[in-house]
């Protein structure tokens, strides 16, 4: 009788845990937390970032916001096989681009290394309204700020200018990772955001 119980356990058909017993039909090749591999797990982020000037005017407190502002939606999937990133930005009350022959340019900034990823240009029309979108086969986990700068139209320098008009900190969600039996060192993989 004991033998009949141990055979399916040893083959992986029965997944035993003190508080939980699951029977599975596929055997060990099916999904099993004991065979968990973090490389096949995609980590998705979908966060909103509110963009304000680096120094918002103090007098705006309690009043309708009349200073430049914007909203960015940052979506990122960290996956070795299908990474993707989408960033959508909308702004309001920025100075229209045609006034001073400039473009606005959006960046993602990694404050650790100082690297800024170019997201693209956009211009603003009356009311200071503008929008842009960015798509890439990459993941955006290293970045922690969305920055919008003002750049001359014939800009030859690919780096961001110092004329920052809007910025906002990205508050990433915490990844859900099932707590396991200590494989993270075995996989060379940290569950915490580094």
């Amino acid at each position: 009788m004991l033998f009949l119980l141990l055979v399916p356990v040893s083959l992986g058909y029965v997944y035993l845990k003190p508080e939980d017993i699951r029977f599975r039909a596929g055997g060990p090749q099916r999904y099993n937390p004991y065979f968990y591999d973090p490389r096949v797990q995609t980590f998705k982020q979908d966060v909103w970032v509110y963009l304000t000037p680096p120094k918002p005017p103090v007098s705006a407190s309690g009043q309708p916001a009349t200073y430049p502002r914007g909203t960015a939606r940052v979506q990122s999937t960290r996956s070795p096989y299908l990474p993707n990133a989408y960033v959508t930005i909308k702004v309001k009350d920025l100075r229209p681009s045609e006034y001073d022959n400039t473009y606005y340019q959006a960046w993602l900034l990694d404050s650790d290394t100082g690297y800024s990823l170019n997201l693209g240009l956009f211009d603003t029309i009356g009311g200071g309204v503008g929008s842009m979108s960015f798509m890439s086969t990459n993941y955006l986990d290293p970045y922690d700020f969305v920055v919008i700068t003002r750049e001359p139209r014939d800009d030859k320098d690919l780096r961001p200018s110092t004329d920052v008009v809007l910025m906002g900190k990205i508050v990433w969600q915490k990844y859900y990772v099932p707590s396991l039996l200590g494989e993270k060192e075995q996989m060379g993989y940290s569950y915490e955001r580094q």
């Binding site: 070795p80 990694d110 990823l117 693209g120 086969t137 290293p142 690919l158």
Partner: protein, 246 residues
């Protein structure tokens, strides 16, 4: 007993005849109308949406004989360069039948329309030796300012072949490099499709690409919290020694 057997036989014959008669009543039109399997096929094959309502001309290939942006007309999926040097992603840009004195660059902004070949620099860190030859990369880099849109737009069509697969903790990343400022812009991560197969990567952004000087492919750890380029395996210059597509 004999009567019972005769009755059973008669019932079988009668039911068969009734079933056949019911089937004879179906016309093709009825079957197309009500049979979900057939009607779906009919919708796929004869859909007006497909052929008359929403027909869209292929984005590329205007004025040229075969190659388009899609797969049809390709000279072979196994060719790394495929039709990258010959296709025209700028309207009539590569059309030999065009007779015009109109010089696009005279519009006051830079146009980049280049075909670049990337060659391998060092593959000593790659985990497995290549089997089918030296890894190569091919890219078509386009940077234009469309008439309707007031902002420069950049597109990179990138193909690579014979890049060996990496150990799972690493991944390939493609970059555009500006050697003057040292700025590298990531255009995407990719996994090689396998020895002998072509891997494609497409990047589009609302940004001018003319200041860039080179393109490269690096090996990056995965996951990587450092966005800077790591180890270069393929590179090719944009400025010198490359073909400017007419």
């Amino acid at each position: 007993m004999k009567t019972l057997c005769l009755g059973i036989v008669l019932v079988i014959i009668a039911s068969s005849v009734a079933f056949a008669a019911s089937q004879l009543g179906y016309t093709a039109e009825t079957r197309y109308t009500y049979d979900p399997g057939t009607s779906v096929k009919r919708d796929i094959v004869f859909s007006s949406n497909r052929y008359w309502m929403d027909y869209v001309k292929p984005y590329g290939g205007y004025g040229s004989k075969g190659a388009s942006r899609g797969s049809f007309g390709m000279k072979g999926e196994e060719e790394g360069a495929s039709n990258l040097p010959y296709n025209d992603w700028i309207t009539r840009g590569s059309d030999p039948s065009r007779i015009s004195n109109y010089y696009a660059s005279a519009r006051g902004y830079h146009i980049v329309n280049k075909y670049v070949e990337l060659t391998s620099t060092d593959l000593s860190l790659v985990s497995r030796p290549q089997i089918n030859g030296s890894p190569t990369g091919f890219a078509r880099i386009i940077s234009i300012k469309p008439y309707q849109l007031g902002i420069p737009q950049g597109t990179v069509f990138f193909r690579t072949k014979d890049l060996p697969p990496l150990v799972p903790e690493y991944i390939y990343e493609a970059w555009l490099v500006d050697e003057d400022s040292g700025y590298s812009m990531s255009i995407g991560l990719f996994q090689p499709a396998g020895i002998g197969r072509v891997t494609t990567l497409e990047y589009t952004a609302v940004t001018p690409l003319w200041p860039f000087d080179a393109m490269m492919v690096t090996i990056e750890p995965f996951p990587d919290m450092n966005p800077l380029p790591n180890y270069v395996v393929l590179e090719g210059p944009l400025k010198e020694g490359t073909v400017g597509v007419p």
